[in-house]
């Protein structure tokens, strides 16, 4: 690659052609402040806090948007740069409802950091907030949008368009009235928002935040009459440590997390991974049943490919944008909702607790799960199956509030009865994980042999490629499944709704056809979910993925069908996969939604 020589603050450096001044400076360990810039997104160049001086030019240049050029001389900290930058930060604050002490993002806010770095103690400019009529939208069960905290960097807009292909958020009006809005300025609740929270984790300020249920959960814990059970999603254990600066062991904190939850006062600390294993049993059986109907019975009504259904953001996306594909969705509830339904039935029965007194809380890397728990369909136990959904971030807040020194906690184990899981469950947290887990079980079910991959690591379905494909030819199937002999099962995996959109397009055009497709709404799968710690970046997601597969590798059991508690729940309660009881408690239906 062509090399470019330039000087930054007098230091010579050479960089690959195409690198920006911002990136070149980073190589020299010179940090230039940014706001609208985000590694996951295209360059906007609109906040202008990253301006630097290019010697010989009258105007400053935005370092995030300016490619390094041969012979360039850049100053990142000249008087003019500092004064201009300070002006820009001050201008942003003048439009901003800067009541940091009352702000949800206090302590983790890029604008606040800049204000604190530049010591804007005596701002020159007029407070414009009283002249504004800022909107506040808290109607969505997942996301709060507070325009008074918005700096109009459009990171959310780019996120929703580029990563999620939805453009639920867009820019409205111009000039002093320019703002981030939605179609016809409707509340987020009423537009094509998947509630994925990607905009939340890409927002540098408190303008987009999760709707938090921290106080409700504290209240439930304090209520002596309530038995509060908590479940933790696979990806939480590889993200939570970031909130406490934990880097050792790839940031894996499963045992400490369990200990912390116990200290918070939850009555039972259980694992969504248990119902992830259960999902594999149900969804795997559903897949095989659909295959049988299609291949043996020639049933024209049976819909293939089967689409996974554990990502509620993906579900909502299909409901809004591809209603013709609803029939392809697996009817399986997500592991969270399966857990909720069992908590107030199976668990209640076994523990002899009146389900009315059970409060079921889930810790999720996801904001869409808040929406999902609120769906009217999710009350099959006779109660609201999951009462409160907290994100990884909310859990971290509770741990801090409780004064727990997280990094010093000894590891503890999940409680029994819906606390046991396998390696196949934890990989649900990564893109390709549901596929891998399903293949591990389905292959063995059909052939009686372990899937032929070293250490059961099905590497072709792993990694960050936007769309992955894999196929597997079945040979020597057991008698029950001999119709699958010689059949090549084609699978695909997409993560991030933009990739999902492209994969669906390929299927619609007939360019590609599959039997089984895994979709996750968020980049990298749940590990990059909208409820995970902020910030996010490709490197951070990579680290979390490494941790997920390390967890899997360390588990004594790696296949869902070997989970002893799964065997128990079928024997004692459900009967068999797709039984009537399973159908009632573990499966659901979907509906088309309007497309604004």
């Amino acid at each position: 690659m062509k090399q470019i020589n330039l000087k930054i603050n007098g230091i010579a450096i050479n960089v690959d052609e195409g690198m920006t001044v911002l990136e070149a400076a980073k190589k020299l360990n010179i940090r230039i402040p940014t706001l609208c810039y985000h590694k996951d997104l295209c360059t906007a160049g609109n906040c202008r806090v990253c301006v630097v001086e290019q010697v010989g030019r009258d105007r400053l240049v935005a370092s995030c948007a300016t490619p390094a050029q041969e012979g360039m001389e850049i100053l990142t900290n000249s008087l003019q740069v500092r004064n201009s930058r300070k002006h820009i930060i001050e201008l942003l604050l003048s439009e901003h409802n800067a009541d940091c002490t009352k702000c949800y993002k206090n302590g983790n806010c890029e604008l606040q950091n800049l204000a604190s770095e530049y010591k804007i103690t005596n701002p020159d400019f007029i407070d414009l907030v009283p002249y504004k009529n800022y909107a506040y939208d808290d109607l969505s069960p997942s996301i709060i949008k507070d325009d008074s905290k918005c700096i109009r960097c459009q990171r959310c807009v780019r996120t929703c368009a580029e990563i999620q292909h939805l453009s639920a958020l867009c820019v409205a009006h111009k000039g002093h009235e320019m703002k981030i809005s939605t179609f016809a300025e409707k509340p987020l609740q009423e537009v094509v928002c998947a509630t994925c929270g990607q905009c939340v984790i890409h927002c540098p300020t408190g303008a987009l935040t999760e709707k938090n249920y921290i106080e409700e959960v504290w209240d439930a814990i304090a209520d002596k009459d309530k038995h509060v059970v908590v479940q933790t999603a696979p990806a939480v254990r590889v993200g939570l440590g970031e909130e406490f600066g934990i880097e050792k062991n790839d940031g894996r904190v499963t045992g400490q997390m369990v200990a912390a939850l116990r200290r918070l006062g939850f009555d039972a600390v259980l694992d969504t991974d248990f119902t992830a294993d259960l999902t594999i049993m149900e969804e795997g059986t559903e897949l095989l049943t659909r295959l049988k109907k299609a291949l043996v019975e020639n049933d024209k009504d049976v819909q293939l490919p089967l689409f996974t259904s554990c990502s509620p953001g993906w579900i909502k996306f299909v409901e809004h944008t591809h209603p013709d594909r609803l029939k392809n969705l697996s009817t399986c509830k997500s592991p969270q909702q399966m857990f909720g339904a069992l908590a107030k039935t199976y668990y209640a029965e076994k523990r002899k607790i009146n389900p009315e007194n059970i409060v079921s809380v889930s810790i999720m890397p996801c904001t869409a799960k808040k929406f999902e728990a609120d769906r009217p369909e999710m009350r099959d136990s006779g109660y609201k199956d999951v009462d409160y959904v907290l994100t990884t971030r909310e859990l971290a807040i509770m741990i801090k509030q409780a004064g727990i020194e997280f990094s010093r906690l000894d590891e503890e184990k999940y409680d029994r009865l819906m606390g046991e899981s396998t390696g196949a469950a934890v990989i649900f947290g990564a893109t390709g994980g549901v596929m891998e887990a399903a293949l591990r079980t389905a292959y063995e079910l059909v052939t009686g042999r372990e899937i032929p991959f070293e250490h059961l690591d099905i590497t072709p379905v792993r990694g960050f490629d936007g769309i992955k494909e894999a196929s597997l030819t079945i040979e020597d199937a057991l008698p029950d499944w001999d119709f699958l002999n010689g059949v090549t099962l084609n699978c695909a995996i997409a993560h991030g709704l933009d990739n999902a959109h492209h994969l669906l397009k390929r299927m619609d055009s007939g360019e590609a056809s599959y039997h089984f497709v895994e979709f996750m709404a968020c980049p990298g799968g749940c590990l990059g979910g909208g409820g995970q710690p902020i910030p996010t970046s490709p490197e951070i997601r990579k680290k979390r993925m490494k941790a997920i597969y390390a967890e899997d590798g360390d588990m004594p059991l790696r296949k869902s069908h070997e989970n002893p508690e799964i065997i128990d729940v079928y024997r004692e309660f459900l009967g068999e996969p797709l039984s009537e009881k399973s159908h009632h408690l573990l499966h659901t239906h979907y509906k088309a939604r309007e497309r604004y």
């Binding site: 160049g45 202008r48 105007r59 002006h87 942003l92 003048s94 111009k174 000039g175 002093h176």
Partner: protein, 393 residues
């Protein structure tokens, strides 16, 4: 009053019934001859930035891409200017000929006229001219089609990169530069964007030769230019004048005898107070002690009855409305300026606050993303510095 000092020209609006032959002639010339002619003429863009037209064509011609575009910028959003409208009404074929010359040189098969939404009434007339022009292209075996794109009415869409965004169906927000349109323009193809008047001048140059055009004007500012004259003048209208005139001569010719200031270049331009009339000439910035013509050629005269506070306040209102709103210095800066001068005027802020605002405009000038935000400083600084008392009392 009258035309005592200034030479009024009539190059642009002169009818040319023989233009068909010029088209034929241009199409038979060598590309480098056309480029050289354009470069030698010294023509600079009449839409704002004053970029040498010949050079723009040359740079684009050197791009290897197979698909390129020529866009005629007819967004004409500067309040009080309507010269492009007149050109398109009276001599559309000159503009089309200019587009064809550019298309030939750069290798474009498609051209667009980005027409200001409010000018929709011109569509019929223009379409007719385009049909006729397509016939001429056909006769000369020149594969070139021109389409009209009707703008949405936002001033910022006149900025070339916002214009292309809007043509691509996106929100009209200026892009980062680089890349420049000549590298990555409309649909990411090399694109020339030229103002209506620039293209009409190209017609004159290719007809009369570079020398005649170059002989007009002064160093760095050659040829003639259309001016939209308004304000306190007995003879408002559009005038074609030789570049390089002094503001004094202009005020003598167009003023009402009581001219205290002239705003050159509309809201984005500069205010020239009477005491500077003599030393200021109108043209593109260069060796000449003068000022640039940042926009479409609006010239507004003010007599002593005018409040310069109101003038500035109007300009700032315009900017705070018409900013696309994406970048901080422009979006918030404009609001601060509007509120700031209001509070000084009302005595809620001390007069010294004007200095804070002046510094703010320095920042806006060097940090705003596009020409709109960068040029707010022009009128603000020239008005506040020259009419400080009017701002305060």
């Amino acid at each position: 009053m009258g035309t005592k000092h200034l030479r009024r020209m009539d190059l642009i609006f002169t009818r040319d019934d023989d233009y068909k032959n010029l088209v034929k002639d241009i199409l038979s010339r060598k590309n480098e001859d056309i480029i050289n002619e354009m470069m030698e003429s010294g023509l600079k863009g009449r839409g704002g930035a004053g970029f040498p037209t010949g050079l723009k064509w040359k740079l684009t011609s050197e791009k290897p891409e197979a698909t390129k575009y020529i866009i005629c910028n007819a967004d004409e959003g500067e309040p009080g200017t309507f010269k492009d409208r007149e050109i398109l009404t009276q001599v559309p074929y000159k503009v089309l000929t200019g587009m064809a010359a550019c298309a030939k040189v750069i290798g474009a098969k498609e051209g667009f006229i980005y027409l200001r939404g409010e000018y929709h009434f011109l569509v019929d007339l223009l379409s007719k001219a385009i049909d006729e022009f397509h016939q001429i292209c056909k006769v000369n075996s020149f594969d070139f089609n021109v389409y009209i794109f009707l703008g949405s009415g936002a001033y910022i869409c006149g900025e070339e990169s916002a214009l292309m965004e809007s043509m691509e169906g996106k929100r009209g927000e200026p892009r980062n530069k680089p890349p420049f349109p000549t590298d990555l323009g409309y649909l990411n193809k090399p694109t020339v964007v030229n103002n209506v008047e620039t293209l009409a001048h190209a017609f004159t140059i290719l007809k009369l030769g570079a020398k005649d055009f170059h002989d007009l004007g002064v160093q760095d500012s050659h040829g003639s230019k259309l001016f939209s004259v308004s304000g306190d003048t007995p003879i408002p209208g559009i005038y074609e004048l030789e570049l390089g005139m002094s503001v004094q001569d202009f005020a003598d010719d167009f003023g009402d005898g009581d001219c205290k200031a002239v705003q050159v270049g509309g809201a984005s331009g500069f205010l020239v107070p009477r005491k500077r009339f003599k030393e200021t000439s109108i043209g593109y910035q260069g060796k000449l002690k003068g000022i640039s013509l940042p926009t479409g050629g609006s010239m507004m005269l003010f007599n002593s009855s005018r409040s310069m506070y109101n003038v500035l306040s109007n300009y700032l209102d315009f900017f705070q409305e018409e900013s696309c709103g994406q970048c901080t210095p422009c979006r918030v800066g404009c609001q601060q300026l509007v509120k700031g001068i209001e509070q000084v005027k009302r005595g809620e802020k001390p007069a010294a606050y004007l200095d804070v605002l002046l510094k703010l405009t320095d920042t806006m000038k060097v940090t705003a993303k596009c020409g709109l935000g960068q040029s707010v400083a022009n009128s603000f600084q020239s008005i506040v510095e020259n009419f400080k008392e009017e701002m305060i009392y």
